[in-house]
């Protein structure tokens, strides 16, 4: 369905020294720096899969999406979607895909939303019956009714995003590209949008590629994630694999009987652990210990704590996906471990 092979994109960036002198210098002898935004990425997505792209800011996620949708031409490497090469057969290719860039609307600023959909119906050749059915569905999950007569420029961010998502689904695309579809939305709208994506994927077998910084999107929607950093792929697999690979972080919480006992606990010194390996948070009479289970076992932490203080309650939390990703982004875990 989607084949991406050794995709690269380099941007030339003009280096400008600060100040007027720098500007003048740049005018006569412009210096360019090459930014490798995407640096050799390959993956394959079968039909009907939902793939999540994650990675820190500036990792190159949007650049990949732009190449897949044909907005940018790769510096080298290939991508093929549905048998199309996006840049080659643009007019026919874009009829088969839906695209949403969360940062920027693709709707016509001055048209009322209802008219926007009427125009899209014509340019995508959606038959009347299909159009009606689809509008009903989208209306139901995205609640477009409340603002369907307003011009797009008057919509709030959340309304606009719902409108954009609906617009990208109207023609029943085979592949849906979503670049940060839940950015800046409230919880309810996020839920609605996730619902819409999930339903479309389940009912029509739409292949979905999305990027996000909200890990809940990934947990709720994606079958698989690809993590990129500095233009390179650093992880490709199921969310559960990631959990297993980096699952050594554990969170133990103790509820103490007496608040004053807290001072008796000194994990770092007594167990000889570094700041990296263990993090302690105290709140009232509870202590939360987050530790690397490869460095120190659950048993050690437990027996140490029980030997020092009296405990009312114990709670062991599973590895938190957010913590794993945080460590990956900060490069506390190296790429080779993957």
């Amino acid at each position: 369905m989607i084949y991406v092979n050794d995709l690269r994109k380099e941007f030339k960036k003009a280096i400008k020294e600060p100040g007027l002198k720098g500007s003048v210098k740049a005018l006569f002898s412009p210096k360019n720096e090459i930014v490798k935004a995407v640096d050799g990425i390959s993956f394959h997505v079968p039909k009907g899969e939902m793939l999540g792209f994650i990675g820190p800011n500036g990792a190159g996620k949007s650049t990949v999406i732009k190449m897949l949708t044909g907005i940018l031409t790769p510096t080298s490497g290939t991508c093929e979607i549905n048998g199309f090469i996006p840049q080659k057969d643009r007019q026919r290719y874009v009829k088969e895909i839906g695209v949403v860039f969360g940062q920027r609307t693709q709707l016509w600023w001055d048209l009322a939303l209802r008219e926007t959909y009427a125009v899209l119906k014509e340019i995508y050749d959606v038959p009347d019956k299909e159009y009606k059915k689809r509008m009903e569905f989208l209306n139901e999950v995205l609640e477009l009714d409340e603002f369907i007569s307003s011009p797009v420029r008057t919509l709030s961010l959340g309304q606009r995003m719902r409108a954009d998502i609906a617009a990208s689904l109207l023609h029943n695309p085979k592949v849906l590209f979503l670049d940060e579809p839940t950015i800046g939305l409230d919880v309810v709208v996020k839920d609605n949008i996730r619902n819409a994506i999930q339903k479309i994927n389940a009912e029509e077998g739409t292949t979905v590629i999305l990027t996000t910084h909200d890990l809940a999107d990934i947990e709720l929607l994606c079958d698989r994630i690809v993590m990129i950093d500095k233009g390179k792929k650093v992880f490709d697999g199921q969310l559960n694999d990631l959990r297993h690979e980096f699952g050594q972080m554990r969170d133990l919480q103790f509820e103490l009987i007496s608040k004053s006992d807290i001072s008796k606990l000194n994990y770092k010194a007594d167990l000889k652990l570094s700041d990296e390996d263990v993090k302690i948070e105290n709140e009232k009479s509870s202590v939360s210990v987050r530790f690397d289970s490869e460095k120190v076992s659950v048993e050690d932490i437990l027996s140490y704590t029980l030997s020092k203080v009296h405990v009312k309650d114990i709670n062991l939390k599973d590895a938190d996906i957010e913590e794993i990703i945080r460590r990956l982004y900060r490069q506390e875990v190296s790429i080779d471990e993957v």
Binding site: F11, K12, K66, T69, G70, I71, L72, T73, Q87, R90, Q91, R92, V94, K95, I97, V99, F101, R104, T105, Q106, W108, D110, L111, A112, E115, T116, A118, V119, E122, I123, Y124, P151
Partner: protein
């Protein structure tokens, strides 16, 4: 069927354009008053020119012709004005032009039909009053009705062609934002030059013959001078035909030019995006 679909696709843009100009009506009237004032200023300037000359006519124009020329030139310029340069330059600057590439829809039609909506409102509000005013003036001065329906109809055809030329010229020019950093300064210069070259500032007939001939072949005279001369009945039948053919030629030229520039711009956009 194809045509019907085409209209169905772009009609909403026209409606939005109409709504837009109705919404900014107050703005529009202020602007209009300013423009008409400047017409009157030009009127007094030319009146002084005529008073200081000995004969009734000046380079073949009577004072009455001059008045008609001024106001019809204003009307023509107003109706053929196109905002494409600005709109496209803005889209290039903020990068939203890229969004046009992921929709299977032609980039110029959305602009064109939205602007047509503006034009419809303009025609309703100023076309009729201005033409009536000019004709009333001519009647009052000469004592008989000068209005000729066939000239008027040919004028309308020529006006539509002039608008389309102007539209595609501005679209092409707007894409220059890809290549020029500051289009705004270049834009003001463009207006002044075009006003001069198109005969809107001074009738081409007043210029040295060689210059007038050269300008007659350039696209600019198609923008304003041709329709105005047709309205005034200054051309013979053959001349009208050749001038309109010339307009059609320039229209095709501009359409092709805008497509070439668009394709080139897309390539550039794809390799560097900005």
């Amino acid at each position: 069927m194809k045509f019907k679909k085409f209209i169905r696709t772009y009609k909403p843009f026209t409606r939005a354009g109409m709504l837009e100009s109705v919404q900014y009506r107050a703005n529009f009237f202020c602007f209009l008053i300013g423009e008409i004032m400047s017409c009157f200023i030009m009127f007094f300037v030319w009146k002084a020119v005529f008073l200081s000359s000995d004969s009734e006519t000046f380079m073949g124009f009577t004072m009455e012709d001059m008045v008609v020329y001024l106001f019809i030139t204003f009307l023509t310029g107003y109706l053929t004005y196109s905002d494409g340069t600005y709109a496209i330059a803005m889209e290039i600057r903020d990068g939203s032009i890229a969004m046009r590439m992921i929709k299977p829809c032609s980039f110029d039609m959305c602009f064109l039909f939205q602007e047509l909506g503006n034009k419809i409102i303009n025609v309703l509000f100023i076309f009729a009053p201005l033409v009536l005013g000019v004709e009333a003036y001519r009647w009052a001065i000469t004592g008989e009705c000068q209005f000729q329906i066939q000239h008027f109809l040919l004028y309308v055809i020529s006006l539509v062609l002039a608008y389309l030329i102007s539209f595609y010229f501005n679209v092409s020019y707007g894409f220059m934002a890809f290549y020029l950093k500051n289009l705004w300064g270049a834009d003001i210069l463009k207006e002044v030059i075009i006003n001069f070259l198109s005969g809107a500032t001074i009738p081409l007939a007043f210029m040295p013959e060689i210059l007038a001939d050269v300008l007659g072949f350039l696209p600019f005279s198609s923008l304003s001078y041709t329709p105005v001369m047709i309205y005034m009945g200054m051309y013979s039948g053959m001349e009208i035909l050749s001038r309109i053919l010339m307009q059609i030629f320039w229209l095709c030229f501009m359409v092709v030019l805008s497509k070439i520039i668009w394709n080139h711009a897309v390539k550039r956009l794809c390799s560097q995006e900005g």
